[in-house]
Amino acid sequence: MSSEPLLRVENLKTQFFTEEGTVRAVDGISFEVREGEIVGLVGESGAGKSVASMSIMGLVESPGEIVGGEITYKGETLFGLEEGPDGELRERDDMLSSEEIRTRIRGNEIAVIFQDPMESLNPVFTVGGQLREFIELNRGLPEDEARTEAIDMLREVGIPDPEERYDEYPHQFSGGMRQRVLIAMALACEPSLIIADEPTTALDVTVEGQILDLVDDLQEKYGTSFIWVTHDLGVVAEICDRVNVMYLGEIVEKAPVDDLFYDTKHPYTNALLNSIPRPDRTVTELEAIEGVMPEAISPPSGCRFHPRCPDAREVCKRAHPEAKTVADADGEPHQAACVKHDAFDAGYDQSSPLEGAAVDAGPAAVEEPESELTANPAGDDSGGEQRE
């Protein structure tokens, strides 16, 4: 609020250049992470949340490329472009080299925890050995000190009997234990920021609960900031301080967690909240969102959510809303990218409702055979050549 945020992402654009065309996986998102807070990045698969987090780490690989925007971490530029003499975009001089990012930032300043702990650990080395090597490399400790440190970290994340288990292989650990090892690895260099990419999605609920507890405790102790990438609104409600909701490469709503759930401003967030079954009460009728998320290769015109939006009007097809502050949440801006709010002044109220939207978007519309067909990659009817 007062000082410079820990991480600032501005207008980040990451695209993948494929044979079928350019996939705008992340299309101009901005957010910031302050010290000691957990920021949620929420969305369905294909929303671009993982690509966004990998872009921060500089881990986007060909054919993907960051094509625009600026990422600042603790006042240093992780990524930035400027216009060259002949109008070409080139990387700015103050941008850290990939060498610097590798040695100084990754692991030491920003660490990542991935969803699948089995893929992140090497099956042919012992768990302890991998953790020790990581500490040796990143902190420059001699082997025996790194070993002691590794055992301490394993104990810290709640692995019983860490000295014995130090010499075991990843397959001898359960899923929850492996995720604890990855958390130990992420914390080992006491980074200021941890990017957690769906870290509890593959775990059972009781184990997920244990891990969330652990993260809470560790965050209190070390004051680490987190970017928590997830599709699970339950987890968001449980641990996040502020939330960014992503849809098709864009952030559509940005708010403190309580306001997101109790003063929802974007129809997509609202639809998402209405479509989930609840563990705490019986919902008789689920209000499913119509259709599926379109491909990022050819996003819809105007507001990208308009083909599925129950509130869509004529204007939504044309006007592409940038997120604007639409409400004040105790001094925090509550932003949403939807023209139905007065802040946009796009003539939403005068615009006529879209056919097939608003009017009959009730639960009944869900059963329409067309509901999922819009995004069929095979295109129109070409597959049904023998139709009668």
Binding site: R155, L212, D213, V283, G384
Partner: protein, 438 residues
Amino acid sequence: MDEDSGYDSDDALLELDGVTKYFGQESGLLAGLEFEPNQFPPVNVNRETVKAVDDVSLEIQPGETLGLVGESGCGKSTLGRTILRLLEPTDGDIYFKGENLADLGGGELRRMRSDMQMIFQDPQSSLDPRMKVGQIIEEPMRAHDMLDDEGRRARAKELLEKVGLDPRHYNRHPHAFSGGQRQRINLARALSVDPDFVVCDEPVSALDVSIQAQVLNTMESLQEEFGLTYLFIAHDLSVIRHISDRVAVMYLGNIVELAEKEELFENPQHPYTRALLDSIPVPDPRENGVRGVLEGEVPSPVDPPSGCRFRTRCPRLIAPDTYDWSEEKWAQTRAFMRAVKRRSFEPMPAARIEAEFFDGDRPGGEAGSIIDEAIDLVASDGGGGGDGDDKSDRWATATDLLLESFAEQSICAHERPAYDLESEHGDGDHFAACHLHR
């Protein structure tokens, strides 16, 4: 379909009686043979079995949805497959429409199978990528000799429409469809032979939330239209709460609680069910529940705990009658016993152990002297300070001592619990396998 079986639709559609499924660790002539150099003869036949499903009895009424919920490895999928006889049960009887499936021969079983279908979790791998959607849906009909070519084709198209797909997609391959659409194809295939009973094994867990809701809604309307009975297997309690009429909770091969949905979620009577319900993150930031209430991990199904299988992690393990405890002292002893078993603390002086676990005031009497002995074994100033094997042995001795003196004396370790309770919500039966209700 019911004419020839003499099945009365007032009875349960499916009845399981003590169904048990064990898996041998390996199969083959020399499987499980181990070399033991220090005995005679120097070989040992290892007959370890994984007790995946152990003595499960339940009934499913026609037209209802029974939710089966549990964590991974609890045996819920194995149970689903055993019911369909995709796996041969080790023991117990399965009655479908009053007929014992075990008594049926090959041909009869095959006929019965058209009444029982299954939908799998992964919509990608359960559809043959080289077949067209139409063929996929017609295949079960062909296997059961239903209709002629024309009829099958017409039915496949009709079903495509029923599950919310375009009948014109009859000639497409599965890869052209999204995950949600593929799961709809699976539904159409299962329904093609007009079954009465469908086992759905995690049908929506691979789907995004917004798609999940669409598929769940479709499944519900199909159930109504075709009068289907579902056994809905899932790990997600929210989905289970939405779709089920009654819910069974499984832990390590046993059903620990079974009740009507409202009753189970609002008035859970088994500590495991409570722990599960407490652990789910609720999509409401103003809900400040406890979580991570369960310690440790599920024990191996090769050698499950005696009596109640949940007792090794149960936060409400019953105090053994042998000693005279206050509630508080027993809770402290239980915590200490488990900490020693898991070695979750570092060796420290005896006084500190006592301070940490017992507030410096350990229980008196016989129990107290056992605890003293255990503390002495693991304390750094007692004898646990050594290193290597000696230290390991001491911890193991302490663990055995504590478990034998306390945990094994509890009623939870002696008897397998099974109690029928009064429901607070609704008038259905409420089964809870917990000795707290004795």
